[in-house]
Amino acid sequence: MRPLRRAIPALALVSLAALAAGCSASPGGGDAEPVEGGTLVYATGDAEPTCLDPHVGGNYPQGLISTQYLEPLFGRTAEGEIVPWLAESGEASDDGLTWDITLRDDITFTDGTPFDAEAVKANIEHLQDPDTASSTGYLAVEQVESVEVVDDTHVRLHLSTPKSAMLEVLSQQWAAMQSPAGIERGMDENCQAPIGTGPFVVESWTPQEQVTLVRNDDYVSTNPEADHDGPAHVERVEWRFIPDAATRQAALASGEVNVIDNPLPTDIASAEEQGFGHIDAPRPASANRIELNSAQAPFDDDLVREAFIRSADPNPGIETLFAGTATRSYSVLSSAEPVALSDEEAFRTDADEANALLDDAGWTERDDDGTRMKDGERLTVRFPVSTNQSTAAEQSLFEQIQANTAAVGFDVQLEPTDLSSWYGALAAHEYEAVSAPYTTVGPDVLRILYHSDGTIPAPSGYFANNAQLTDPELDALLEDALATTDADEKAELYTEAQRIIIDSHAVLPLYDQQNHFLTNGVEGVTTIHTISTPTLVNAQLTE
């Protein structure tokens, strides 16, 4: 009996370890044949929308899900060219104050309402209605003074000021078209199930669990990414909310879900090995970057800003913390923007140069902990970090930057907070450095982020120009770029503007806004090139 008694716990331990180590239920994608129909399960780690209508508020989670059931007037190619979607074409008048948009005549909303000029008018007015409380979509159509219905398929937008980015902003999911009859039901009902023209229709929404979408059998294939005519392949989509990244990954591995977003860098790195599909779709407009507040000490001094750029040295951190899944960016704009200006030399690391710059700037004294001082003031950099927006890897990267810059005498104080307090700190100018992602479409994001108008707070206290750049020359370039409809001239203006922004030393680019998706048991998942959300129009289950 004795040996056996001792053997039992040992056996139990060994078998447990074997179970944990041995069995990794990795379903190889490989040879599985695609099938028609079935239910695709998508698991999102983004917050659950409080309203499924992206006109209301307007954030990325709404953009993600509404891509499946609402469609915008225009689309965009991978090269950044605007292409037709629900509209056939759009053209500005010579003075840039009117836009004539021609619509397709063969589209019907899923409630039977025809898609026509009246519908476009109703949508733009819905975005402008204060009761809609639109934020993102409102910005898109802010300059539209009135919408003229010319005939069923022609609509004319009258603008207060020229906006060459008009078609780009209309391509954003937050300005997508919905049935006017749906809007008329009132916000409460419309938020539960907006009615669009997309490949899927909202069937039901069980808060905290899932949104159930069913196939639109009458879908007219307008999506620029669609690879076939007619309806989608899968019959139903369960759009589930799984906030924890490890749980999402486990659900993908066990086959409970077919697509996940926001995977952990280590899981992306091992995706291929585990037989999962991987989609890397950097978001357009701006790159992820650190901005230095040039409006107050110590970063009101260009020398000090440059010293920070020279000493931050983010590359080793990006390589290790992101497990090789993120590429260092040397551009203010996303690599998805064709006019992005990349300048590696401008962001070189050189600690000796940083020390010399700080000496020149007069930060020559040292405190007991090695932090530089000037006139009794420490070289302190308050850096509020939004734990909602910055991933664990990014927060670790900031800690490395904190250590790197400490070596030349900066005292970076990382202050992790929730989103609301974070915006509060920015609104109160209680920051010297910050990393604030901004998702929109096109290089006009430069105007939103770096035009001096962006230092003036919105009624909520929000302002987008965190670098606090107020350069009249830069303002003029960005205004001209917005006004011109000549593509070459526009590209030239945006290049000059980026030159000024880079040389200001107020921006340290890190990498593209990370936007990865992993798939299992499904093929044909692709992303649209406006806000890089996935569309399931071509998706086919392979089980």
């Binding site: 944990a20 069995c23 934020s135 916000m187 069980t206 924890d244 659900a251 066990s254 909602n388 609301s420």
Partner: protein, 337 residues
């Protein structure tokens, strides 16, 4: 008013009940006040109404929201309005979802209660089973079992739920594929991992407390007397010592229930399970004041009700406490002494 003797015919003293209800109302008022001011001090509720923090909504939209939700009133007036709403059970509408708070909470409460009740039941089963195993194990073998059980209790009671849940998901969902990692579906199998995750730490505490109480009872004269009459160990346990030892565990169950409700925030997020905890977490992050106040007040109410219920249950089980309750003073007999 005299407390009646004998099991089954126990009347609770009216003064005792009145004192408990008074205390409950006080607790709820304090909770509602703290939550209201904490939320208002740390962020602007306009954000929740206008599409979340960082909203760029125009001035007309901001004005419309301020008027609709009476945000132009002084803070004290808004606070009194909120108290009136709670007192009249009108919880108002969610800023972010624009739905009645009562509906939102009503939808999610059953999910969380189911989780908490199952977890508490499982914790009790584990704790009693553990106590029984130790009680019947005597001699050298018994000491060994006692040491192992003691170790397990300590590990269980300090295991963080987010860690335990993640390990269970890795083992049973990712590797073995026996159970689903998430539990949005109505599949009963989906309840297993969340319930176990919630129950294990509670079971560790309950087991420790009942074992100590059991050891005390075991050494008490009445147990010796029972043995001297020739009762077997199992009989002594079931008839005499276990009842005695259950008292501290019963009073601990009130605490455990509160701990389960707060633990549900972690477990619901981890297992993507719908429930009150997740509703509360999301509402707090988006500064949805009516939902947070409504949910917190409801959780406080539940907690208070359960604590009163466990106090009442103790009175039923232990006649010594009943006498002191009638006199509304501290018990003159210490539990387990």
């Amino acid at each position: 008013m005299t407390a009646s003797r004998g099991p089954g015919r126990v009347a609770l003293p009216a003064r005792w009940i009145a004192a408990k209800i008074g205390a409950a109302i006080l607790v709820m008022w304090i909770v509602a006040t703290l939550v209201f001011f904490a939320l208002r001090a740390s962020g602007d509720p306009l954000e929740a109404i206008l599409g979340g923090p960082g909203s760029q909504a125009g001035p007309e939209a901001v004005q419309a929201a301020i008027e609709r939700y009476a945000l132009d009133q002084p803070l004290v007036v808004q606070y009194l309005l909120q108290l009136r709403d709670i007192a009249t059970l009108q919880l108002g509408d969610s800023y972010a979802r624009r739905q009645p708070v009562a509906d939102l909470i009503g939808d999610q409460l059953p999910n969380t209660l189911l989780l908490a009740v199952l977890a508490l039941a499982l914790a009790w089963v584990i704790a009693v089973a553990g106590a029984l195993v130790q009680a019947v194990s005597r001699g050298r073998w018994g000491r060994a079992v006692g040491a192992v059980m003691h170790g397990l209790e300590v590990v269980a009671s300090v295991a963080p739920q987010f860690w335990l849940g993640a390990v269970l998901i890795m083992l049973f969902a990712s590797s073995l594929g026996w159970l689903p990692a998430t539990s949005a579906s109505s599949d009963p199998a989906a309840l297993v991992l969340p319930v176990v995750t919630l129950a294990v730490p509670i079971a560790g505490f309950l087991s420790q407390v009942s074992r100590d109480a059991l050891a005390d009872a075991d050494a008490a004269p009445f147990a010796t007397t029972a043995r001297s009459r020739g009762s077997g160990e199992i009989r002594v346990l079931l008839r005499h010592t276990l009842r005695h030892a259950s008292l501290p565990a019963i009073s601990l169950s009130g605490w455990a229930f509160g701990s389960l409700l707060s633990g549900s925030v972690v477990v619901e997020v981890l297992f993507a399970r719908p429930g009150l905890g997740r509703l509360l977490q999301e509402a707090a992050l988006s500064r949805d004041v009516p939902v947070v106040v409504g949910a917190v007040v409801l959780v406080a109410l539940l907690y208070v009700v359960v604590v009163i219920a466990t106090d009442a249950l103790e009175l039923v089980v232990d006649p010594r406490l009943r006498r002191s309750a009638a006199a509304l003073r501290a018990p003159d007999v210490a539990v387990g002494a």
